[in-house]
């Protein structure tokens, strides 16, 4: 604990207006004062409203992030929960999850519960509490782009894409490219994210998701999502390791999985990959959930455990 904070000299300080206080949460209520609540009934109408009002409008889904963050200077709340985007489908093209699916829907989905897509269920289960999961939407969570979120690493491990609809039409981009930084996405003014698309996974694909948090209902300190696909000759055809948890960018995709390519995944290789992943990371030192030392140690362990479990599961999927 700091002994004495250095103050240059005992000096007269300039006027401190009461609003210049260091705490981020102070007077939150005051800054969040939207003038109007709008509820479009179609995607087209939603896009039109958001385009019209630009920076002054914000799409509102479950509200569990917006009503905590209470962003200032928002004048229009555009409630998009009336749009037909609450679905989970599984078919020949893979899995399609509507952006307004709640985490409860994902958690209880029979379609996702078995097989490699089950890490989506695992990730959804870890998100918040029951009451939060009942209203928080996958689209809202992705667009919030916080590094500690559990769902994005699971999606990224499965090569998820996101569909975005705007006044200039639709586009589909990999989720990894959608995240541009902490709380920053590729979403342009007037656009809404409508769907998550996960491709069909080849046979012999196993996935696993592990996290560490301080208590059972807590934002994760570290999240590791892993996917491996084993080829007919028993070597790794594809591996992906996605890390979340305040490590740095919203979701970090490790390059270390290249070490697994075309190799038989054995213990010594898993150890090596885990060390490599940990070395790649540069967690910020200011997190209250864990120091860089702890996060790097934790990542090593979770990567090992996730790889082992994913490998075991590949056997079930062949």
């Amino acid at each position: 604990m700091t002994c004495f904070c250095r103050v240059k000299k005992k000096q007269m300080h300039k006027f401190y207006i009461a609003s210049e206080v260091p705490s981020k949460q102070r007077n939150r209520n005051l800054s969040f004062r939207p003038k109007a609540y709008l509820k479009p009934t179609s995607i087209h109408q939603a896009v039109s409203l958001l385009s019209k009002h630009g920076e002054k409008a914000i799409p509102l889904a479950g509200g569990t992030d917006i009503l905590v963050d209470k962003p200032s200077n928002i004048e229009y709340l555009v409630d998009i929960t009336g749009l037909p985007l609450d679905y989970i489908r599984k078919g020949k093209e893979g899995v399609r999850i509507g952006a307004l699916s709640t985490f409860n829907s994902v958690e209880t989905s029979d379609l996702l519960g078995k097989g490699p897509y089950s890490i989506l269920v695992d990730a959804a289960r870890k998100m918040g509490s029951t009451a939060i999961r009942n209203v928080a939407t996958v689209g809202g969570n992705i667009c919030n782009a916080v590094p500690s979120a559990e769902f994005p690493p699971a999606l990224i491990a499965l090569d998820a894409m996101v569909k975005i609809v705007g006044s200039n039409g639709d586009r589909i981009i990999p989720l990894e490219e959608f995240f541009k930084g902490i709380r920053k996405t590729d979403l342009k003014t007037g656009e809404i994210l409508t769907e998550i698309q996960i491709p069909i996974l080849p046979p012999c694909t196993g996935t696993a998701l592990f996290n560490i948090s301080r208590s059972s209902v807590d934002i994760s300190t570290v999240v590791v999502a892993v996917r491996v696909t084993i080829g007919k000759n028993g070597t790794c055809q594809k591996a992906k390791i996605a890390i979340g948890g305040g490590i740095g960018p919203t979701c970090f995709v490790s390059k270390a999985c290249k070490l697994l390519q075309d190799e038989k995944i054995r213990d010594h290789l898993i150890e090596k990959v885990a060390l490599e992943v940990s070395a790649e990371l540069n967690p910020r030192s200011t997190s209250i959930r864990g120091s860089p030392f702890f996060k790097k140690e934790a990542v090593k362990v979770l990567v090992k455990r996730a790889l082992r479990q994913a490998l075991t599961k590949t056997g079930e999927e062949c």
Partner: protein, 779 residues
């Protein structure tokens, strides 16, 4: 355990159904016309003078009715501590000062027609600060040249105790019993450790709330979520410079206390604004304000040195405590005093040395928190016990049994030191600790698990078991007073008025059980009304685990007085000698002739018709008081099993068993609930709860999102509570105390179990995965 009709039965809590159906019972559940909303401006600096404060623009804002700060509030030094007068805490606090002493200290307050307007007005207040060097490290606070936090010339204690604010030295206690030096010399093993406990917040689900208004007679009414209604009356009266008779304090149902409401936290500001505006004023903390600007647990640094002989006897104990009270000294001396007074008498050792110091720092205000110093002291000593046992190769269970106080014994510390100055000479008249240990160890399968976990399979997960014993003497000796009044109604029911404050603890229920038992009636026939300074007789408030013992004693006496009056009347009405009469089932019956009269009939006669037969009309009623002539000890033995993930450092509590002696449990179900709640709070304190500060002394995690208390998913897989009754002859129906003792178990028991599992000794709380990983790597 002795058998009673109502006492010892798990009757439902008398307010439980109303609470379950959502009745508006809490402070903020009432509505007032013309209610104003108050908001407080907090300091952004850890240490600064206020050179100037300009409030005109805020006052001019439409909807604002008053703005108060040091410029327009009288300077009345006081303590906010809810303690008996003269308070054993320094008078070092002002309602508003021209100096701020931590990030979150008060600067000004506004009352306005809406919360929104009040918040806007805060932004318009202009404050000119002169930042000063802060001090955050308690181990450096008394250094020569350290910034002086209380440089005002008139801060003082009302009682003659040590006080050196110019060195940030708020309290000091020295105690020496026997010959510590000789004791150490005679030891075969000498063990020393340094311990650190951390800041924690009570996290009552109900934030601090207060509504203040004038009644129709010009008196100020304070409806507040508090543990100490009578102390609030006195403290607010002093700050407002009005006599106590002009202040009326009402405590409705409150959503938890745990010590955080054992201070005047917001009532003074609320009352001032009501006085200035002549409107009802509501002041309710946000959750963030609760974390930063209410109260916390005193963090402590402790040094221990103990000597033990090979035969298992403890030959010497030294405990040095450095307590951090934050910027103000409420509860500063007394919490530190308890680390010795309530902890060390447990041990059978005649050579004891204690040195306690409390210092000021520029971090959040510490205050009362369940355990009140005994939690910190027990942490240190219970680990020392574990270490001593290991040093001589004795099982901890045997070591504790050998070295803990027994029925019929005494400790020199009882007399030498209490919570406030000297204590009371006493003998332990009730103690089933040995039985707690034996029964607990058997039910826990202690020996079997110790054996099993000696050799564990390869793998990341390692199991371990640990235990500790705790003693907690209820009440502040000689200073806790409680009263009760009761009167009979026509139907044979009674109104029972008590000053005692039920925090959700079930005090109202327990007191009604004691009353009902004495009068041979059921709890349904007792209507309890509590904690209203106009109507209830005096009670010092809900703290020091005194309610059942002291308020219960007052209720017992009151009931006994009423019983006497009822028997007198019945004897006259039935023409039977009093010795033939018993009270049962709401009636008085002659054991000889079977003649019977219902209590309701007696009431009707004394209220209405006696005079027709030449007898008096009067209200059968009584008032009685009790005070803490003694502070009988409750005991507990805690056993815990953990699994430590040696790769991630995570600890999971698998099983927790508490065997508790609280004398006669007046209501076993409520008693169990107190035990569960204390333990889970203690587990959170041990593993996950921690207030984190930045380099400027600002709390970084003032929210439930970032300060983690246990949820339903965090509780041990198995929680076992065993009530092992003894009978305290000085307590009502043999009862002692229960409210605080069990929160002190988890910290040392978990440290001991981690040691057993993976061989590392954690002396610094909380036991985070990071600390465990680092210790494992060092090993």
């Amino acid at each position: 355990m002795r058998e009673f009709s109502v006492v010892g039965k798990s009757v439902p809590k008398i307010d439980a159904l109303s609470l379950s159906v959502g009745k508006p019972l809490f402070t903020d559940d009432v509505e007032f016309r013309d209610l104003l909303h108050a908001k407080i401006l907090w300091s952004p600096h850890a240490h600064a003078k206020i050179r100037n404060i300009e409030t005109r623009e805020a006052e001019a804002l439409s909807g604002v009715h008053a703005v108060i700060c040091f410029k327009n509030v009288p300077r009345v030094l006081h303590t906010t501590a809810g303690q008996g007068w003269p308070e054993p805490s320094p008078y070092d606090t002002l309602v508003f000062d021209n100096k701020v002493r931590y990030v979150g200290d008060r600067v000004a307050a506004v009352a306005a027609e809406t919360e929104e307007t009040a918040c806007k007005a805060l932004k318009l207040i202009k404050v000119e600060y002169e930042p000063l060097q802060p001090v955050f490290d308690s181990e450096r606070a008394m250094d020569e040249g350290a910034p002086v936090i209380h440089d005002e010339p008139d801060a003082r204690y009302l009682i003659p105790v040590f006080y050196d604010p110019m060195h940030n030295h708020c309290a000091h206690i020295d105690l020496s019993i026997g010959d510590f030096g000789a004791g150490i010399k005679s030891a075969d093993f000498v063990i020393e450790h340094k311990f650190k406990t951390h800041y924690a917040q009570h996290c009552t689900l109900e934030p601090h709330s207060c509504i203040s208004y004038f009644d129709s007679y010009g008196r100020i009414v304070i409806r507040t979520s508090t543990q100490i209604p009578f102390h609030i009356r006195r403290l607010v009266a002093a700050c407002l410079q009005i006599p106590e008779k002009m202040v009326h304090v009402i405590k409705p149902r409150i959503g938890g206390g745990f010590g955080s409401k054992q201070c005047m936290v917001i009532e003074d500001v609320c009352a001032f604004l009501a006085m200035r505006t002549k409107h009802p004023v509501r002041l309710a903390y946000t959750r963030e304000e609760v974390f930063v600007s209410s109260r916390t647990r005193h963090p402590m640094v402790m040094w221990t040195k103990t000597g033990v002989r090979k035969d298992g006897a403890i030959s010497a104990i030294e405990l040095k405590v450095l307590s951090n009270t934050g910027p103000y000294g409420a509860h500063a001396m007394t919490v530190m005093s308890n680390t010795c007074a309530k902890t060390l008498p447990l041990f059978r050792c005649n050579n004891i040395k204690f040195t306690g110091d409390t210092v000021y720092t520029n971090l959040p205000k510490a205050g009362a928190y369940r355990g009140y110093g005994e939690t910190q002291g027990t942490f240190a000593m219970a680990i020392m016990m574990d270490e001593m046992a290991a040093a001589i190769g004795m099982d901890p269970v045997e070591f504790w049994k050998k070295n803990t106080i027994r029925k019929g014994e005494t400790s020199p510390i009882f007399k030498a030191l209490g919570e406030v100055g000297s204590g009371v000479d006493m003998i332990v008249e009730s103690c089933s600790l040995a039985e707690c240990i034996d029964k607990g160890a058997t039910a826990f399968r202690w020996n079997e698990k110790r054996e099993r976990y000696k050799n564990q399979l390869e793998g990341a997960l390692k199991h371990g078991v640990g235990m500790c014993c705790i003693m907690h003497g209820g009440t502040v000796s000689l200073l806790d007073m409680a009263s009760a009044s009761a009167k009979i109604n026509e139907d044979g029911s009674f109104n029972l008025l008590v000053g005692a404050a039920d925090l959700g603890t079930g005090a109202d229920t327990v007191l009604s059980q004691i009353f009902a038992e004495t009068l041979g009636i059921q709890v349904e026939d007792v209507i309890v009304y509590a904690s209203d300074t106009d109507i209830s007789p005096f009670d010092k408030g809900a703290y020091a685990s005194a309610t059942t013992y002291v308020a219960g004693g007052a209720v017992l006496k009151t009931a006994q007085k009423i019983r006497k009056k009822l028997l007198n009347e019945a004897s006259a009405i039935l023409h039977e000698p009093k010795d033939n009469l018993i009270i049962e089932k709401k009636a008085i019956v002659s054991t000889k002739t079977g003649k019977k009269i219902e209590l309701g009939q007696i009431a009707k006669k004394t209220l209405y018709t006696n005079s027709r037969r030449g007898r008096n009309l009067f209200q059968i009623a009584a008032t009685a008081s009790e005070y803490s002539r003694l502070n009988p000890q409750s005991f507990a033995a805690h056993f815990v099993e953990v699994a430590v993930d040696t790769e991630t450092g995570q600890v999971k509590v698998l099983k927790y068993l508490a065997a508790v002696d609280c004398g006669t449990p007046i209501n076993p179900k409520l008693a169990e609930g107190q035990i569960h709640g204390s333990i889970i709070n203690g587990i959170g304190y041990a593993l996950t709860e921690e207030l984190v500060f930045d380099r400027k002394g600002c709390v970084r995690n003032p929210s439930f999102r970032d300060y983690k208390i246990c949820s339903s998913l965090d509780i041990p897989e198995e929680m076992v509570t065993m009530l092992v009754p003894s009978y305290e002859p000085t307590g009502p129906y043999g009862a002692k105390t229960l409210g605080e003792i069990n929160i002190s178990g988890p910290l040392p028991a978990i440290s001991n179990s981690i040691k057993n599992a993976v061989g590392i000794r954690l002396c610094e709380t909380p036991f985070t995965p990071e600390k465990i990983l680092k210790a494992l790597k060092k090993k």
